[in-house]
């Protein structure tokens, strides 16, 4: 990471801040009050934005893992690891905002709905991924082994979703997803939040890659000194 990309990430940081503030304003003040659900619906803008970014981040882990195994370039391992950490953070946002909304809208913190349950499983898989990374010392071994788990975990997600959907169909279908009509200001608010979270994701990713690259340099310098 050179000086140029450092400047890019600074610009990105400020842009993220601006969009975050705009998103907060839009969600809490600009967007109209939802008729049936009331103010609690406003959490949905952050919930959905975080959920989309979570899926994207997990997709990046999958792609990074495959690319690492094919090309054996440490860059891809760093990207996968960074993306996994951010994905777990976004999952945490999703898993906390979701129940807060659900308690008010559905009357329960949690239902074993396919979407909820597969998100939970996905979250646990990638917490396991991070634990796995934390318990392997050797760097290249950690890279290839965690890549393998990143691939296995991602392949599992659609199967989990299918299995839970079949599992639930035997029970009465209580809730039918997030079918809601959205007014244009609501869509605009959602878009602003989505841009803000996307910028935040890229910002975090660049910071994390920079940190890891610096760690590598420190490691090299340490080796130089000891020999």
């Amino acid at each position: 990471m050179g000086e140029g990309s450092f400047r890019i990430s600074r610009v990105l940081g400020w842009a993220t801040l601006v969009f975050m503030v705009a998103g907060l304003y839009a969600a809490f003040i600009y967007a109209p009050r939802e008729v049936t659900m009331g103010d609690v619906q406003r959490i949905f803008y952050f919930h959905l934005a975080a959920a989309w970014l979570m899926m994207l981040a997990f997709g990046v882990v999958f792609a990074g893992s495959i690319l690492y195994l094919v090309k054996k370039d440490r860059k891809w391992d760093i990207i996968a690891a960074a993306s996994a950490e951010i994905a777990v953070v976004f999952s945490f946002v999703v898993m906390t905002t979701g129940p807060i909304w659900a308690k008010s809208a559905w009357g329960a913190w949690w239902t074993w709905d396919p979407r909820l349950t597969s998100t939970l499983v996905l979250w646990i898989v990638f917490i396991g991924y991070l634990m796995l990374r934390g318990s392997i010392t050797d760097r290249s071994r950690r890279a290839s082994i965690s890549s393998v788990y990143g691939i296995v975990g991602f392949v599992d997600v659609p199967i989990v979703f299918m299995s839970i959907r079949w599992w639930r169909t035997i029970h009465p279908q209580l809730f039918n997803g997030l079918d809601m009509q959205m007014a244009p200001p609501m869509i605009l608010t959602l878009m602003v939040c989505l841009v803000a979270f996307s910028l935040l994701y890229v910002f975090f990713l660049l910071q994390r890659i920079r940190l890891e690259t610096m760690r590598d340099e420190v490691e090299l310098l340490k080796q130089d000194i000891s020999y």
């Binding site: 634990m131 796995l132 318990s135 082994i145 975990g153 392949v155 199967i159 299995s163 839970i164």
Partner: protein
Amino acid sequence: MGTFGGPTTSSPEQKASRLSRSAEPTRTRSAPGGMSRYFQDVGAIIWKDVISELRTKEMLSSMVVFAVLVILIFNFALEVSGVAPDLIVPGVLWVAITFAGILGLNRSMASEKDKGCLEGLMLCPVDRSAIFLGKMLGNVIFMLIVEVVVVPVLSVLFNLPILMPWLILIVVLGTFGFATVGTLLSTVAVNTRTREVMLPVLLFPIIVPLIIASVKATRAIIIGQAWADILPWLQLLGAFDVIFLVVCLLVFQFVIQE
């Protein structure tokens, strides 16, 4: 026996490799072609595990005792007497299989690693996927032996006739998928500092669909549901087995490389 470690040559020339193994009557019977040679390698690895288990009997005995204990604990934890057993037995069966399976998987890979056998296996002139298949099928065999004991015990203790031909198919399919992912992830786990602790953390979330399908299919069989209700779960089990067999065969080489 005696085939493990195999010939020192991996020459593709059939005559040469045949000469070097002339002392082994079991292998000269079929001409060592590409495919049959591959399955001989797989068979040798399975045989090695079976022999070593027959000599120590460490793994099987602990797996069986553990599975029976799980059933016992569930009997007290769930207060079974008042409840209809067909609601509980499928769940208890698969929890017992899963926990005993974890025990076996950890043991199977830890002994490879501790005694340096994994390095030995990697030095063998066999394909990496043959090592995977050998270990995996070995695990399947041990788990099936445990299940042969556990299923009748469960049937007797809960007073529910569950020994049905279709149940065997479900148990075999479920065990196959469990051992496929489990063998890969136990190889992953022995490479970590925390080792035994790591395997359930990695394995349980992955096998969620397998457990759902197995429990649902087992219950459907026990209460005698229509074939149309059972078939989707069998298809799901089959799909899980095939998808993860392909994925695991593809990625296993990256886990054991030095």
